[in-house]
């Protein structure tokens, strides 16, 4: 049984590509056969985040137009044998592919992979329609900002209209220090407005910036964001993992307290 998951948000820059890379890598670490598809034609960057840019020969548009076989365009990840990337084309635009063509492509990939993860472009136009065409499940990424939440709300409405009912929410870039001061919305506030199930929360972690720039997904590392992503991966696979405490108050007294707690 294979699952087709679209990672979407409406607003740009909230972490769709980072989430796609980490969730995909995490699933591969747990021995699932995974393919990541970058549907952001013309603005490709999933390959960069994965550190696979230099291996691209063929791309999504080549496959759809029949210039090559699917196998030729799939790039095997440098760390995991069971993880593949289908990169997008940089020199074309969203109109080069139609939802019907995406559906057909995904139906073919379903035969071979456990998880097909689609990195959706920002916006609600052609690129979005292409990305959701073959999906049966969605991960909606948002940050705790009103603009991102507004767009996420719109996206959830559109997903429901397109009969994608399995919608889960990832709240990204939470800063517990701001939340505590009352300057940032809490996770509960966000879930309250969007009224969909929360599948995970990822803290704003500087290690993400480093990992992205190095083309190495953070999932599986001991960084807070890395652990948060691994929890999300396990929940996607159906495990019941409680939300972790994102509070990283490493002040002196807290450390002392922690020492006593652990004893």
């Amino acid at each position: 049984m294979s699952e087709v998951i679209v990672v979407t948000s409406g607003k740009g820059g909230v972490g769709k590509t980072t989430t796609t890379a980490n969730v995909g890598t995490g699933l591969a670490m747990l021995n699932k056969k995974v393919v990541l598809i970058d549907t952001d034609i013309g603005l490709r960057n999933l390959d960069v985040v994965m550190g696979l840019e230099n291996r691209i020969v063929y791309n999504l548009v080549d496959v759809v137009e029949g210039n090559c076989r699917i196998k030729q365009a799939l790039i095997k990840d440098k760390r995991y044998n069971n993880l593949y990337l289908l990169p997008s084309a940089q020199t074309r635009d969203k109109t080069s592919v139609s939802p019907e063509q995406m559906q057909k492509l995904i139906d073919e990939l379903k035969e071979e992979f456990d998880y097909i993860i689609l990195d959706c472009p920002a916006g609600i136009e052609q690129g979005f329609k292409n990305a959701i065409a073959g999906a049966s499940r969605a991960l909606v990424v948002t940050t705790p900002e009103v603009s991102a939440i507004r767009d996420a709300d719109r996206i959830i409405g559109l997903l429901e209209a397109n009969e994608i009912t399995k919608v889960d929410l990832i709240v990204n870039r939470i800063r517990m220090d701001l939340v505590k001061r009352g300057d940032m919305m809490t996770i509960d506030d966000v879930v309250d407005i969007l009224a969909v199930s929360l599948i995970g929360a990822v803290p704003d972690d500087e290690n993400i910036v480093i990992s992205t720039n190095q083309g190495e997904p953070i999932v599986g590392t001991d960084a807070l964001a890395g652990r948060a992503y691994m929890n999300i991966v396990k929940r996607i696979m159906g495990e019941d993992i409680p939300l972790m405490n994102l509070d990283t108050d490493n002040g002196f007294w807290n450390r002392i307290k922690n020492i006593f707690k652990s004893k």
Binding site: V146, R150, D151, D153, R154, I156, G157, L158, E160, G182, I193, A195
Partner: protein
Amino acid sequence: MKQTVMIKGNAYGLVVMLDKEAPFEDILKEVAVKFRDSAKFFKNAKMAVSFEGRKLSPEEQQQLIETITDNSTITVVCVLDKDEENERRFKKKLEEAVTGSATGSGQFYKGTLRSGQVFESESSVIILGDVNPGARVVAKGNVVVLGALRGTAFAGLSGNEQAFVVALEMAPTQIRIADTIARSADRPPVKPDSADQPKIAYIENGNIYIEPLCKEVINDIHLI
């Protein structure tokens, strides 16, 4: 011969111009003739009627209306004194009569109305769920949100100033009732002090007021 009766139409009904000096008996006869002649044209129309050009006693007015209904198949919905400003009320009265009691009956919607979604109704609306920012509920009657109202609600679309908006959590972007618009404060308090209390928005003296939904307020509601 001078015409003693003239019939004019405006967008919502008929204006019957009456001669000031002619005897009332003559006018009655002339009205009967005019309406009989044009009975086919009017068919079974529902109309508002106003009389102009002459002061009429209530009895005279009644006689005129009877003459009109006897000589044609028109249903006279209401009679108004001709007044330039009254044309709007004309319109509302007629629309209310045509659409039936817009506020008395309602339509249900279950689910969250999300940004970009619009729910429109010819009657009143009851939303079982939230109305999120960027979403709109538009009703000719009342709007009741059994959840949080964070988007825009528009009650009394056709101008009914008795229409109201009720929400369990009242935090709207904008509320419109009839022709009056109210928007939320530019800087909403971080935690509205009474956010979890059901509230009602209504018009009084051309202003929209929002108040906790208590017994006294409910007693003041009139469904027309």
